[in-house]
Assembly symmetry: C2
Homo-oligomer: 112 residues x 2
DNA sequence: AACGTTCATCGTATATCGACGATAGACGAT
DNA sequence: ATCGTCTATCGTCGATATACGATGAACGTT
């Protein structure tokens, strides 16, 4: 799955770029950023919790949570009636590292 | 324009979230990530340069470049016929720092 | 002057996003 | 069994994103 770092330069393109873009897309919405912040302050939140914080319809929040889960940034587990959402700090850290890597690539490969 | 870093914690919410989301949105497209990588390898590129790398129509590339410029990730300067696009490494680094800050916030505020 | 090059913009078509209300399923409480 | 709560999903709607070709402006070259 992980190719060597140098291969990333050969195929700079679609593979890694697509993957990173997909994760950043999940992050690129204010409501989802706020959801992550809220989740980070609690061990696990149910959907209603988040709804009360955000002033958005329950269905909308549910969709945002789904996006975050599908992007791998939030873990999901079904309680009885509730659904528990828990932030995935490792995945978050992974994105941070990926962005830092991209920036590093862009800054280190200065032409002259 | 730049509030103090601690103010970011007070008003974690919409303002900074929106700003970060907007910049991440500019980054969340594979073509734009590849454009940034390409720009990083050259002092400045004209639109046609990028077109030849990307296998996209010239108008499409022009639009992607416009998105990057409007997000502040790329600087624009008009040559004679050409348009020169240059990566803004500081802005890139700023985004990286913002993402790292968000992740830090999410990881440091563990409930227990 | 006529032509080629480079680029931004316009118009268009399609797809996806973001938000909502309505609804149905699952579950606990009465 | 009935009611209330919590949630996911469906359908819908408007807005936005993405891609393209066509076009015209600006400029250099012949």
């Amino acid at each position: 799955m992980n190719v060597s770092p140098s291969a990333d330069f050969n195929e700079c393109g679609s593979a890694s770029a697509k993957a990173l873009a997909a994760k950043l897309a999940a992050l690129s919405h204010p409501a989802r950023i706020e959801i992550l912040k809220h989740l980070s302050g609690n061990r696990a939140c149910c959907c209603k919790d988040v709804v009360q914080q955000l002033d958005l319809a329950q269905s909308t929040v549910s969709q945002h949570l789904k996006v975050l889960v599908e992007a791998g940034l939030v873990r999901f587990s079904a309680e009885r009636q509730r659904s528990l959402y828990e932030i995935d700090r490792e995945a978050l850290a992974g994105i941070s590292a990926s962005v830092a890597g991209l920036v590093d690539t862009c800054c280190s490969s200065r032409p002259t």
